[in-house]
Symmetry: C2
Subunit: 130 residues, 2 copies
């Protein structure tokens, strides 16, 4: 299992402020943008900023609104089968499955995903695509 | 300004459980390990797991214990001067400086750092070193 992070998704509450901070502050140029989510291509991984309520609904976050949600780490693997295999292994290592299928374990939420549109190079670097 | 993330530091409360999850679950091999912090080399960035109280003290986190702290994103730049220049730009773009000098802005905590020991290649990929 390579040591990789494919995507960091930050839960935001103010889309305009976030867009300004990442755009004007860091000079980020979105690779994909809707009113509720913006993706930026980083150095071999993708940064997403997503309205927090939508992010927490997507990850089926069980806790009260608050810590330690508000963000998610994602790992893209090479096949749908690899998703299930890794989820079983993470659960055996003390992770908690939040959502069957492509569910992130609890604690620090990790999403294990297979996205055929996102190329993963030999060194694990991920490029945004739709 | 390149679009980069150099380090993700997760605040943890149970070092043994975290070590097992990242080690046995993801197969992570630490590149540096102490009783309170473990670093893993990822795909061009570094993942750190650090006891949460120490992380929040380091970032001078002002909020009540809870959301949205518990983690920090870091960007390593090429010089000490570049730290200050970027901090000013991030503040102008709506960020809030938590700590003078190498302070992370508030909201989603970002640390802007200059670490002469960590190589940054031409594509912005960062390698752990001490």
């Amino acid at each position: 299992m390579p040591q990789q992070i494919s995507v960091i998704t930050l839960g935001i509450t103010d889309a305009a402020r976030s867009r300004r901070f990442y755009g004007e502050g860091f000079g980020g140029v979105p690779v994909h943008e809707t009113p509720e989510i913006v993706f930026y291509q980083m150095n071999g991984l993708v940064l997403g900023t997503w309205l927090r309520a939508a992010l927490e609904a997507d990850m089926q976050w069980p806790g009260p609104p608050g810590a330690p949600a508000g963000f998610a780490l994602g790992l893209n693997v090479g096949s749908a089968e690899a998703v299930d295999a890794l989820l079983r292994r993470l659960e055996a290592a003390g992770g908690r499955i939040l959502r069957p299928g492509d569910a992130p374990p609890h604690g620090h939420p990790w999403e294990i995903a297979w996205n055929p549109a996102w190329p993963i190079d030999a060194e694990g670097r991920v490029t945004f695509a739709i």
